[in-house]
């Protein structure tokens, strides 16, 4: 894990400091006067030799200093931390939603293979994986917010959010007993969560279905059937447990897709999370911000994969 992190820092450094011929020029903007560019170059140490800059960059990043956002003039690390709960709330609901619907659908589709249900599930998963997330977001917005008026078009809450305890609006609202805020937060969550959950659910359905079909033809299932163990128990306990191992390995990947999806989905819904932060940084050519975002996501991603490995070891004795 540490070498991967170091490599990531190296790539991010290369993209931000080596690739552009003149990062200070990019920061200052196309039409900035030469003195301003020179001042920026000096201020950020861009006139120093590259190896020296790299060592400094690593030292800063290691001590949690990701530089100052050129736009908000606040430390980038602070901005990222402040926006993390919004994205996590979105991603966690999406993953819960995807698992709660995806696993049973996958099992049922496998049990009733080639039935109409299986075909419907298949059409949904195939298109769910082929849909551009930002387009699905716009479609849902068009249908549910603009035409039917059921959900808010954008944002995370009307007015102010609940006083932060965890930073998750829904949890904070419950903890404070503020039911009205809870309702508002849930209505705002509905569309972005649905957008993110559909492709995630499609992946889970596919892997669960394949896993169940695979396990169903194995000897131990045949044996359990012969022993007279009720079919329902065999399916939902023994088959599912073996089948889910394949699904679980996908969770890390799904989480990565969720973060990637969040970048564009948050933009469409104007959700104040990491993704919309990244996009507005792009639009403002805010170098420190976009590079820190990349690094931050990388770290989160590595941690999630570590958790998946641990969970797998718990679930599957063979991989221990």
């Amino acid at each position: 894990m540490p070498p991967t992190l170091f490599g990531l820092v190296l790539i991010v450094f290369a993209v931000s400091h080596v690739v552009p011929s003149d990062p200070a020029r990019v920061m200052a903007g196309e039409n900035a006067p030469a003195e301003q560019v020179a001042a920026l170059r000096h201020q950020y140490g861009l006139d120093l030799p590259l190896p020296y800059q790299f060592v400094r960059y690593v030292r800063d990043v290691a001590s949690g200093n990701m530089g100052t956002s050129l736009f908000t003039q606040r430390p980038v690390a602070e901005d990222l931390w402040a926006r993390l709960p919004a994205t996590l709330e979105l991603a966690l609901y999406a993953i819960v939603f995807a698992v709660v619907f995806g696993v049973p659908l996958g099992v049922v589709a496998a049990l009733r293979r080639n039935s109409w249900l299986d075909h419907v599930v298949r059409i949904v998963t195939v298109s769910g994986l082929a849909m551009a997330a930002f387009w699905l977001a716009i479609l849902l917005q068009l249908l549910f917010s603009m035409w039917l008026g059921l959900t808010p078009v954008q944002g995370r809450i009307d007015g102010w959010g609940p006083d932060p305890i965890t930073g998750f609006y829904t949890i904070d609202a419950v903890l404070r007993g503020d039911w009205e805020t809870l309702g508002g937060a849930l209505r705002h969550l509905a569309l972005p969560v649905a957008t993110l959950a559909l492709p995630a659910m499609a992946t889970i359905v596919r892997f669960t279905r394949a896993g169940v079909l695979n396990v169903m033809s194995s000897n131990f299932v045949f044996y359990q059937g012969a022993m007279g163990i009720p079919r329902r128990r065999v399916v939902w306990k023994y088959i599912l447990r073996s089948a889910l191992i394949g699904t679980l390995t996908q969770i890390g990947l799904i989480f990565g897709n969720l973060i990637a999806g969040a970048v564009v989905v948050e933009t469409v819904f104007d959700w104040p999370g990491l993704g919309s932060f990244a996009v507005s940084s792009i639009l403002q050519s805010d170098y420190n911000a976009i590079m820190s975002f990349t690094l931050f996501v990388g770290v989160v991603f590595i941690l999630v994969n570590l958790l998946v490995d641990i969970a797998q070891a718990v679930l599957d004795p063979r991989s221990r």
Binding site: V15, F134, V297
Partner: protein
């Protein structure tokens, strides 16, 4: 030929093949097929934001451009980005995977470590960072996608090569004195070609999605290029009235990505029986 015939028997793979073929034909014959080919780059403000009808089959956009014609020319951009970026990714990833899988030394460790680093970030995040640094242009999108995509092939080829390394026929080739290059090119590569082809087909769909997302974020080729992702981004200012403006390019992306995915799944079943996961897709 046998492969093709077996592929044709599989209904969803056939559908995928047809969609991909239509995309290629649409891109090749965009000019004769377009009803208003001049609308792709010029403006026609009096006819802006018209709903779909007899003259403008899929309606018009904010500049009065015919969306149907623009979609056809957009297919060229999509195909070009997907084909070139995927080709580069394969050309980097496959040799890296072969070398790393064939040898067991420091270099192969290093190569796999490097590809792990790239896989540690969701592809689009790194692609955004690179595309942003290089500026909005089609060649930069291609570069950003190739740089971030090759590790997928490296990983795959590495794993396959490693497992082939102990096969008797490889051992025999080595014992007969074949050079490592010869073994890799003539013995290992043909055996793993089918999985590379399957991965590449599905990878095309993924590349198109990421390219569209870059276009949507304004990092794709600059206007008036009829890039599908950018068209959807432009449409947002005119919703909910001009729904067709957003719908048409999105459906195009959906169909094309679905086509590549279905074709890839079908190819997997036909070419690589080992990967057939208990008839994973209802066949």
């Amino acid at each position: 030929m046998k492969t093709l015939r077996r592929l044709m028997r599989d209904r969803s793979a056939l559908l995928g093949l047809v969609i991909v073929a239509v995309l290629v034909l649409a891109a090749l014959f965009a000019y004769p097929l377009a009803t208003f080919p001049q609308d792709v780059t010029s403006y026609d403000p009096p006819h802006r934001l018209l709903p779909p009808g007899a003259t403008y089959w899929l309606g018009t956009d904010r500049m009065g451009g015919d969306i149907y014609s623009r979609l056809l020319f957009g297919a060229r951009i999509t195909i070009m980005i997907a084909v070139v970026a995927t080709t580069f990714a394969v050309l980097i990833g496959v040799p890296v995977g072969l070398v790393a899988g064939y040898y067991t030394n420091r270099v192969s460790d290093l190569l796999m470590r490097i590809s792990d680093v790239f896989l540690a970030v969701p592809q689009i995040v790194l692609a955004i960072a690179i595309a942003q640094t290089l500026g909005p242009a089609i060649q930069n999108v291609i570069l950003a996608l190739s740089i971030t995509y090759w590790p997928f092939w490296a990983r795959l080829v590495y794993a396959e090569t490693r497992s082939l390394r102990n096969e008797v026929f490889i051992e025999a080739a080595v014992a007969l004195g074949a050079s490592p290059l010869r073994v890799m090119a003539l013995h290992v590569l043909p055996s793993i070609a089918s999985s590379v082809i399957v991965r590449t087909t599905i990878g095309m769909g993924g590349t198109i999605l990421v390219a569209a997302a870059l276009g949507f974020l304004g990092l794709g080729p600059p206007p008036p290029t009829p890039e599908w992702g950018r068209m959807i981004a432009e449409s947002r200012a005119f919703l909910p009235q001009a729904w067709w403006y957003a719908a048409a390019p999105g459906v195009a992306i959906l169909l094309v990505v679905m086509g590549f995915n279905l074709l890839g799944d079908g190819l997997r079943d036909v070419l690589d029986p080992r990967l057939r996961r208990g008839g994973a897709d209802g066949r």
